[in-house]
Amino acid sequence: MFVVALAKGRFLAPSLDLLARAGILFEEELRESRRLIFQSCDGTCRVILVKPIDVPTYVEYGAADVGIAGRDVLLESRADVLQPLDLGFGQCRIVVAARDGESRVDTDPTIVRVATKYPRIALSYFNSRGTPVELISLSGSIELAPLVGLADRIVDLVETGQTLRDNGMRVVDVITESSARLLVNRASYQTKREDLVRLIETLEVVR
């Protein structure tokens, strides 16, 4: 018996498809239920639904043995977990973006105001380039910040770039790539090794 933490939102459907291909099925329609805990048909696993940003935390503390989360939230959370598989879906980039026509260069000595929901990733990016920043933590609609003068730059997740273009913005730099990862708790990997190694090997084949 092991516990899988899945992220509510855009990762849920591909995560459930992946588990289904690995033979882990659920009687109930998870996507429409308001419950948060589900038992698989064969009783070998339990799924819990949590906010995407919380998946690494559940796994790190062992409240879930494994989880599926984007590399972006994993980097931001800095959770100490094993990450044995790239699951292939949810591909996107974490980028620095600015308004079209904004002409700031990295060597400008003034402080850059950066709006983001990834304060740690943003800070470590700008720190490593020696650029002084003022971080403005937001939890959504980050693209709005430069348009209303709240920030000079944003650090955000970009899938196709359409939202940026629609709002008159362009990518200045790509910080890193992101995609869905399988996370495994370090202790569970030892104490439930047989179950989890089988799961990892199956997912590696069906992903």
Binding site: E60, D86, R186, A187, Q190, K192, R193
Partner: protein, 360 residues
């Protein structure tokens, strides 16, 4: 914030049952150490910062609580015991006949995010073994670690055993440039196969080294892992590490304890001072290790006493989490106490060894 009524983040106050539980766990573990002829040492709460930086390495230096003494020297509150005990052994026990066996128990302080019941101030109880035959000493500390968990009434624990030598031998051939080995190490630490493939693909490596490094995340399991490792390497250092693990495994197997042991050749996390085996103990139901340790042959030499060394420590807070919040083992909290109004009666009862409580 009112500093007189709030406690600083990461500190804690234990009272009543929590204290009885702490003392009971500590007593059980210290009696196991005593049973294996380890002498208890009480090292100082603080020492010069350099003592700890030498041991823990640069990465953990930021997490040390430090301050300046009146002469301008930088002191630190102890963030761990191993460096401190090694220094004490080097200075106070330099002439003693080897092996020297020492145990300790107390609080350490690290400026880090509290996790798994472990605060910034947390309690460690452990041992250090100096000198002697290294394979036998390694087995000895592993057996003590297992016995402690058993004596605490934790039957299902798993010890994950790795060795820095296997990985060390593998990367001997690689130019130590641009922090490449550190990047490899951090990918292996999280078994990130995808990142590892990307990094190895971009490197100009000979095929056998590349193939071996690709396999490292999968080299975890029971004894057969050692044999699989042998097919992948020809570096002498890696092979010696495997021989060493094999001999440890076979002794533990003969004692019927191999079910508690996992070999993980990708297990290379830890302080910079580790030079041979390293291990972590896990218990079902807790997401963090309850004990960790390893061999650190180079450390005592830093303090002027060149002897091989191995040791480990338990995290008491995490053990207490596993043991739950019931009454402490051997706790006499429920023993009836008689309420006394006269000191005369109280003193008489105390002489008879009875518990009393003075009523006002």
């Amino acid at each position: 914030m009112n500093s007189l009524t709030q406690i600083p983040p990461g500190t804690q106050i234990l009272i009543g049952e929590a204290v009885r539980r702490r003392r009971a766990v500590e007593r059980t573990l210290l009696s196991v150490f005593q049973g294996w002829s380890y002498e208890e040492i009480i090292p100082p709460m603080l020492d010069y910062l350099d003592v700890f930086v030498k041991g823990m390495g640069q990465e953990l230096e930021d997490r040390i609580y430090r301050f300046v003494d009146r002469e301008g020297k930088i002191l630190a509150l102890r963030p761990e015991f191993t460096s401190l005990v090694a220094k004490s052994a080097a200075t106070r026990l330099a002439g003693a006949s080897l092996p020297v066996r020492l145990s300790y128990s107390g609080e350490v302080l690290r400026f880090e995010t509290p996790k798994g019941g472990q605060q910034r101030e947390f309690a460690q109880t452990g041992i250090e073994h100096y000198g002697g035959d290294s394979a036998r000493a390694d087995v000895e500390v592993l057996l003590i670690c297992m016995e402690g968990l058993s004596k605490l009434g934790i039957p299902n624990f798993q010890i994950n055993l790795g060795s820095v030598g296997f990985f060390g031998g593998l990367v001997e051939a690689i130019e130590p440039s641009d922090g490449l080995i550190d990047r490899l190490r951090s990918l292996l630490n999280v078994k990130d196969q995808h990142g590892l493939d990307q990094l190895l693909g971009a490197l100009d490596l000979d095929p056998s080294t590349r193939n071996a490094l690709r396999e490292v995340p999968h080299l975890a399991g029971s004894r057969e892992v050692i044999a699989r490792g042998r097919h992948l390497v020809n570096s002498r250092r890696s092979i010696e590490a495997l021989d060493h693990l094999e001999s440890i495994y076979s002794i533990i197997d003969e004692l019927g304890l191999a079910r508690h042991l996992t070999v993980d050749l990708g297990e290379i996390r830890g302080f910079d001072y580790y030079s041979g085996i390293l291990f972590r103990a896990y218990v079902p139901g807790l997401g963090f290790e309850v004990a960790s340790g390893g061999r650190y042959d180079g450390l005592p030499a830093q303090f002027g006493h060149d002897v091989p060394a191995v040791g480990f420590s338990y995290s008491l807070e995490r053990l207490e989490q596993v043991l739950g919040s019931g009454p402490a083992p051997g706790s006499d909290a429920r023993q009836e106490s008689c309420d006394q109004t006269s000191f005369e009666d109280a003193v008489r009862l105390r002489r008879a060894g009875k518990r009393v409580r003075i009523c006002s």
